[in-house]
Symmetry: C2
Subunit: 339 residues, 2 copies
């Protein structure tokens, strides 16, 4: 029932030229007279001919395509990363296949397989978690892969991520600079490496400055950081414990959950306490302008794509060159009290 597709052979027959000439006309290759090229292209147009990319890639052994796997396309953070990564790839003449692992290991592995089978030349992945390392190791033999989160040094998996220890310090110092004297870290999830760095650095920095600080720990977990932030902070408010005057949220998404809880319980930011997050997500929230610490998404993705392309090009990279931590910066908005 399917319409048989028009092939280069049909065009050759209809135009009276050889398939080689048709190929040359289509690809703008040397070796064909302008007038004949024009004739051939007209025939193509007339038959609505579209070259078969599979066949072309098969013979050229090049797809000019990169794969990108993110945990959650619906989060503004990841979707922005996707966009920036796509842009960076396009700029360098690569196309991109977008995949949404939905934070599921199984799905992540399936996509890795799919991408490899589809002959992408390289893969950018924001791993679901620690467990992702195994799948990545499996496919890294076939194709260059760059992670967007830190990986163990022993795995040797290249990555480009933010220096989260540094980020934690910047956030904490900012709150202290703004005059906070009683700090709390909310939304901690031990499975997330970034959280561990941020929290550890938070405690260390506070200790150095002799400021009381603690990580609020709360067993519950949720699908999104937003929900976790909301729930944890609600728990805290209900508990009746003394309020801190400065809160470091595990991420911006978490911070937004905290904001939601505040709204319900009549707390005002930054009046009742200062709040700072991480990641600089660009959600257009009407409610609050969150101060945050992050690396430029664009810089991170450009760096990651560059690294990937170097690997594709076959450069032999040292561990130092292939494990990159970018320095985060403070993005000051309105969720912290004036100094």
């Amino acid at each position: 029932m399917r319409k048989k597709q028009v092939t280069i052979k049909d065009i050759a027959r209809e135009s009276g030229f050889s398939i080689a000439s048709v190929s040359r006309a289509l690809n703008g290759t040397e070796g064909i007279s302008p007038e004949n090229r024009k004739k051939i292209l007209e025939v193509c147009e007339h038959f609505a001919y579209t070259p078969n990319g599979l066949a072309r890639s098969l013979v050229k052994r090049l797809t000019q395509t990169l794969g990108i796997i993110m945990p959650d396309i619906m989060s503004p953070f990841y979707s922005e990363l996707m966009v920036k990564a796509s842009d960076a790839a396009h700029k360098r003449g690569y196309r991109v296949l977008l995949c949404n692992s939905f934070r599921e290991l199984k799905s992540e592995e399936q996509y890795l397989k799919l991408l490899v089978e589809n002959q992408v030349e390289g893969i950018l992945i924001f791993p679901v978690g620690k467990m992702s390392e195994a799948s990545i190791m499996k496919y890294i033999r076939n194709v260059p892969i760059v992670s967007l989160n830190e990986m163990t040094e022993q795995s040797g998996i290249p990555y480009v991520c933010a220096d989260e220890e540094c980020a934690g310090r910047i956030a904490t110092e900012h709150l202290i600079f703004k005059g906070c004297r009683n700090l709390m870290f909310v939304g901690f999830k031990p499975e997330r490496l970034a959280h561990r760095y941020r929290a550890a650095s938070f405690l260390k920095t506070a200790r150095e400055k002799h400021i009381p600080a603690r990580v609020y720990e709360c067993g519950t977990d949720f699908r999104t950081s937003f929900e976790r932030g909301y729930d944890h902070f609600r728990q805290f408010l209900i508990s009746g414990e003394a309020m801190p005057d400065g809160i470091v949220a595990a991420s911006d998404d978490t911070a937004n959950g905290i904001v939601k809880a505040c709204k319900e319980y009549g707390k005002r930011i930054p009046k009742d306490f200062s709040l700072i997050g991480f990641d600089n997500i660009s959600a257009e929230l009407p409610y609050i302008e969150l101060t945050t610490v992050a690396v430029s998404h664009e810089v991170q993705m450009e760096t990651a794509v560059n690294l990937l392309l170097e690997m594709i090009g076959g450069s032999h990279l040292t561990g130092h060159q292939s494990r990159i931590k970018l320095e985060p910066k403070l993005v000051e908005r309105c969720s912290c009290k004036g100094a």
Copy 2:
């Protein structure tokens, strides 16, 4: 420099079987003894062999892949549609290529071309605008395409969308039912077909019920509906004109922009006026629980994928079967005053 990829030929040689047997072992096809299959698969494992999907699709003339083109992956509305569409496709054994046209016609057309060249079996597209019709017409000769927004009947392009006229009526009636007696429509953008339906139906319904109503028109436009809503409503507030007691926003995203303006200018919802939107976007906004009118995203995507698969299957569909308007429903939350 690139590692030469392991092919089926290598596996054949290493395992001592023919290419045909290896192929059978890999695909679970009949005609090979279990023990030999096992042996072959072990060799595959050992050499980290991954079949070349391009070659496979080329000979089978089937890719089991659908393409999806959306205008803005960063909008929660479209990204949710993408997710639902992917789910629907996966359920039916299809894979999916996600594309982000970024509301640019050029980019949209490039992706159409890319998808066709990559031999997707069908395409789901949320067109950038009226102008998209031309590109779609161009490629619909090659592959089945279903639009997620209404298209002109004469174009014959199949679509699955919400009945926006009905949506406009529901929203307006709800505000009136809640006691509003002075209505305004904010964020109108004439290029958007859905807006035209919503606004026309808004005016018609209000007229029928003898309620004063008008569409706030304001030349300015922006990249996102959010920004447009924010700007238009800010303009309105500055103008000092009399406040309506019920506002229909052109979309939920617009409504969120309105909310932002309200925050800046000290207006409270639903105290100062009731607000209703369209689309039921699932952004986790901490600030407001927006009442809205929409079709189920899941139903819409399931319907669209079904339609697409029928077309792929070669069914001959009537205009009635291929131009589907789904009935929207009221999703009541907290942005409208109690009756």
